[in-house]
C-alpha cells in the first residue's frame, strides 16, 4: 500500500510539474535566445519600473516622473519589486520573471481543472494550454496581459471553488480583482462577462434542479465590475469615450445571443448515437477549416491582412481540436452537474466577444485587436473540452482504434503548436508577431540613436517606435519612414532600418507589416549612412 500511495503521489507531482515546466521554458525561450525582453509592449513597462526604482518614494501616477504612461501597473510594480529583490536591472529581471509569472497561469489552470474533472483531464488540458501557440506568444512578453493571465484564471478558480468558505473566498476574490483591474482592464472586463455568464448559468441550473439558487454568487462578478468601474472613473476616464454606447450595445448583443444558446446546450437532453457524434465531429471540423480557409482569402476583420495559404497549417490545432471538443462536450454533459458545464459558459462569453470583434462593426483597429487577443481567452475553456474529448477516447470509448485516433490528434496538436511557436520566434513568420523579438544589435543601434537624436525626429517602424519612444524617450514618426521609403515624403532627419524589413516589410499599427517597394534600399542609400552593425542601419537626411 505505501508503495502504491507513493506511486500515485509521484504521478500527481509529474502531472503538475510537466506542464508548468513546459510553460516556463517556452515562455522564457524568446528571452534566452535574444537576451532582451520579448514584445514591443515591454519597453514602457520596463522604463516605468526603472523610473520608479530611481525616484521612489513617489506617487505612482506622478506625471512629472512617469510622463503619461502610468496605467496598467501590475507588471510594472512586480518588475520593480523583483528587480529590487534580485538586484538585477529591471530590463533583465522583468524579461525573465514576468514571463515566468505568466507561466504560472498553467499551475492555476491545473488546480482549477483538477477540482472539476480530476487529475487526468487536468494534466492533458494544462499541457495543451502550456503549448498553445497564441497563449505562449502572448504570455512570453513583458506586458500587462502576461501578468494578468494568472490573475484572470485565479478569479475563475475562486469563483468555481466550492471548498473555500464564503468570506475567505470573497476576500481573496476582492484582492485578486483589484490586482487584475490595476494590471489589465481589458482582461478585467472580459472576466466580468465570463463570471456574469457563469453566475447566471449556475442560478438557472440550480433553479432547474430545484435547489437553493445561491444568488450571492452574483456578488463576485459585481465586485470585479465595481472595481473596474472605479478604476475607469479614477484613472481612465478616456475609456468612456473610447467605446460608444452603440458599441457596448453591439457587444452585449452577442453575449445575450450566445448565453441562451449555451444554456440550451448545457440543459438539453443528452442524445447518444455514434453516427450522430461522428456527424457532429465532421461538421465542426469542416466549419473550423472553412473559417480558416476564408481567412486566407478575405480580410475577416476590417484592417486585417489576408493570410497566405500555408497559414492553414498554423490553424491546424484548432481544426484538429474541433472533433475532440465535440466529444468533450458529450463527456461534460454525461457528468450531469451544473459545475461541470461551467466551461461552456466561459467559452460562450469569449466567443461572444470574438463575434463582436468580427461581425460587430467595431472600428478597424479595435476589431482586429479584440479578435486576435480574444483567441488567447478562448484557449483555456477550449483546452478543457479538448482534454475531456481525449480522455473520453482513452478511457471510455474502449476501442484500440479510438485510442490511436486520440493519440494521433493529440500529437498533431502539440507538435503543430510547437512548430508555430518556432516559426514565429525562429523563422520570423510575417503574421505571427516576429517583430516582438528584439536583438541585441537593434538595441545597441537604438541606444546609439539616443545620443544622436536630441530634439530630432527619427523615422522608423512600430517596432523601432516602441523601443525608441517608450524606452529611450526619442521622438519617432512611424509613418514618415514608410512614406519616404515608398517615395512619398521628403528626407527624414534620421532613418532607422533593420534587416527584417527585407523579408517582412515595414511594421505598422495593428500588429503586422506592409510591403516595401523593391527599390526601398536605394531610397535609404540616398541618405548618409552614419551607423551600421550588420542588423540595423541608421541614416541621416
Amino acid at each position: 500500500m505505501p508503495y502504491r500511495k507513493s506511486k500515485v503521489y509521484t504521478r500527481s507531482i509529474f502531472y503538475v510539474i510537466l506542464p508548468v515546466t513546459v510553460a516556463v521554458l517556452s515562455r522564457v525561450y524568446p528571452y534566452l535566445i535574444s537576451g532582451l525582453p520579448f514584445s514591443v509592449d515591454s519597453w514602457p513597462s520596463i522604463r516605468y519600473a526603472e523610473l520608479l526604482l530611481g525616484h521612489t518614494p513617489v506617487p505612482l501616477n506622478d506625471a512629472s516622473v512617469f510622463g503619461g504612461s502610468y496605467d496598467e501597473l501590475g507588471d510594472k510594480l512586480f518588475g520593480a519589486v523583483v528587480s529590487a529583490l534580485t538586484g538585477l536591472q529591471p530590463v533583465y529581471a522583468m524579461a525573465f520573471f514576468v514571463p515566468v509569472a505568466g507561466a504560472f497561469s498553467i499551475l492555476v489552470f491545473y488546480v482549477l481543472v483538477d477540482g472539476l474533472y480530476g487529475k487526468g483531464v487536468s494534466f492533458i488540458a494544462s499541457l495543451f494550454l502550456a503549448t498553445a501557440f497564441s497563449d505562449v506568444i502572448l504570455t512570453a512578453g513583458v506586458k500587462g496581459e502576461t501578468y494578468a493571465h494568472p490573475l484572470y484564471l485565479l478569479l475563475i478558480f475562486l469563483f468555481l471553488n466550492q471548498k473555500l468558505g464564503w468570506w475567505k473566498k470573497t476576500l481573496l476574490f476582492t484582492v485578486a480583482s483589484v490586482s487584475l483591474v490595476l494590471t489589465h482592464y481589458y482582461t478585467a472586463i472580459l472576466t466580468v462577462a465570463i463570471l456574469a455568464s457563469m453566475s447566471l448559468g449556475k442560478i438557472i441550473f440550480r433553479a432547474k434542479e430545484g435547489v437553493s439558487l445561491e444568488i450571492r454568487n452574483l456578488i463576485l462578478p459585481a465586485i470585479l465590475a465595481g472595481s473596474t468601474l472605479m478604476y475607469f472613473l479614477l484613472y481612465a476616464n478616456w475609456a468612456f469615450n473610447f467605446v460608444s454606447v452603440i458599441d457596448w450595445l453591439s457587444a452585449a448583443s452577442y453575449q445575450a445571443v450566445l448565453f441562451p444558446l449555451t444554456l440550451w446546450l448545457a440543459l438539453k437532453h443528452q442524445t447518444q448515437g455514434k453516427a450522430r457524434t461522428a456527424f457532429m465531429c465532421s461538421t465542426f471540423s469542416v466549419a473550423v477549416f472553412a473559417f480558416t480557409w476564408l481567412a486566407t482569402r478575405k480580410p475577416l476583420v476590417p484592417g486585417a491582412p489576408v493570410l497566405p495559404a500555408n497559414y492553414i497549417l498554423y490553424a491546424g490545432p484548432f481544426i484538429a481540436a474541433a472533433p475532440l471538443c465535440v466529444l468533450g462536450y458529450g463527456m461534460m454533459r454525461k457528468m450531469c452537474s451544473g459545475e461541470h458545464v461551467m466551461p461552456l459558459f466561459w467559452l460562450a462569453a469569449v466567443l461572444g466577444l470574438e463575434g463582436y470583434a468580427i461581425f460587430g462593426n467595431a472600428g478597424p483597429g479595435l476589431g482586429l485587436t479584440l479578435a486576435y487577443r480574444g483567441v488567447n481567452f478562448i484557449l483555456p475553456p477550449l483546452a478543457i473540452l479538448l482534454a475531456l474529448g481525449v480522455h473520453r477516447l482513452y478511457e471510455h470509448e474502449g476501442s484500440r482504434k479510438a485510442f490511436k485516433v486520440g493519440a494521433a490528434l493529440t500529437l498533431f496538436i502539440l507538435s503543430t503548436n510547437v512548430y508555430s511557436f518556432y516559426a514565429a520566434v525562429n523563422l520570423q513568420e510575417r503574421y505571427m508577431g516576429y517583430f516582438w523579438l528584439y536583438r541585441i544589435p537593434e538595441y545597441c543601434a537604438a541606444a546609439w540613436v539616443k545620443g544622436l537624436a536630441g530634439n530630432m525626429t527619427v523615422a522608423g517602424d512600430v517596432k523601432t517606435f516602441y523601443l525608441l519612444k517608450y524606452y529611450f524617450d526619442v521622438n519617432v514618426d512611424v509613418f514618415q519612414g514608410l512614406k519616404y521609403l515608398t517615395g512619398n515624403a521628403r528626407k527624414p532627419q534620421i532613418l532607422f532600418v533593420y534587416d527584417q524589413m527585407f523579408k517582412n516589410g515595414y511594421v505598422v499599427y495593428g500588429g503586422y507589416s506592409v510591403d516595401l517597394p523593391e527599390n526601398w534600399t536605394e531610397e535609404a542609400s540616398s541618405l548618409n549612412q552614419v551607423y551600421s552593425n550588420g542588423l540595423a542601419n541608421i541614416y541621416v537626411g
Binding site: V245, L249, S250, S253, A256, L294, K298, G355, F359, N361
Partner: protein
Amino acid sequence: MLLRKRGTALSIIAIALLVAILATTNSIINYVDLQVQTLGRLVSPGATYVILSRNSTSIMDSQVDAELVCKLSNLSYVGYVLPQKILMVNLTASPSSRTVHVRSVEDVGGFLKTRRAYINGTAAKNWTEANAGEILARALSISLGDEITLAVGGRQVKVRVVGVFRSQTQSDAELVVPMETANRLAGNKDTVSLIEFTLKEGVNSLEAVNQITQLLPENVKLVQAQQLKEFAQRMSMQTLAFLNMWSLAVYAAIVAASYVIATRLIIESSYELAMLRALGGKKLIPLVLVFTYTTTVAFTGSILGIALGTAGAQTASTMLRWIMPSVGITPFLEAEQALQTLLLTLASSILGCIHPALKTARTRYAEQPL
C-alpha cells in the same frame, strides 16, 4: 414555479423573434439614415440661389455682369452674396502639371467658413496666395508653402499655397484664390462666372425671388441649388414615421402572442391556481402571478430579441461583405431605440395578458376545473 413550465422557453423565443424583426429593421434603417445624412452634409448649405448666364453650357462658360453683385447686396432681404469666378487653369507644381479648376472669391476666408472647411495653414489674403483643396493637394503632391504656377492662355501667375483645406464639398478638388488672381489670369474684371446668394430668415422666398428675377437682365438665369440636406432630413423623418407605423403591427402581434401565452399558462396551471384559491389565497394572487409571468417572459424575450436582431443583422452584413466586398452595410442600434423597444414590448405584453388575467381573478375556485 410557473417559469419552470415547459412552454416558457418557447414563449420567450416567440416574443424574441417578433422583437428581433424590429431590432433588425431599426439597425438597418439607422445605417441607411446615417448614409443619407452624410450625403446631405456633402452639399453646401441649403436655401442657396445661383445666378448664371442663360446660354452657358458649363459654369466656366458662364459670364455674369459683376455689377449685379452690388444690386443684390443692396436688397434688404438678401443674406449673403458670393460672386465667384471659375476657371480651368494649367497648374504646374514641380514636377507635375495638370489642368485644374480654380475658384476665385472676394473673401477666401469667408468662403471657406460658409463651406465649414477645416484648414491647415491660413486663408489666402492677396493675389500671391492660394488655398488648395485636400484632394487636389494629394493628387498633385502639393504641400503647405509650395509655390505653384497658374497659366491660362498666355497669362501666368505664381502663387504660394498658404493653406490646405477639407470642406467635404467639390471644392476639395479645386484651388481657391482671391478674385484678383482670377482677374489677372482671365484679363477682365467686369464679369464673374456665377453669383451665389441666400435670403434672410423669415423672408417670403417666393415673393423675394420674383422681385430679384425682375431686376435681372435677360441674359442671366436664376437657379435654386439642390437642398440635399433638407431632402435627407425629410427622407429620414418619413422613413421613421413609416417605421413607427409599421412597428405597430409588430407590437399588435406581441399583444396577441402575450394573450395566447397568458391563456395557455392559465389553462396549464389551472390546477395550481385553483389550489391556491382553495387554500385561501386572495383574488389578486392569480392576477399578480399571470402579470409577473408575462412581464418576465416579455422582458427576457425583448432583451433576447434586441440582441438577436442586432447581432443577426451585423452577422448577415459581414458575411455579405465577405462574399461581395463592394457591399459595406454596417447596421447598428441606438441605445434609445433599444430602450424604446424594450418598454413598448413590456407595455404590449401587459396589454395582451390583461383580459385572461382579469378573467382568472374573477373566476371562483369552485368553478375551475380540477
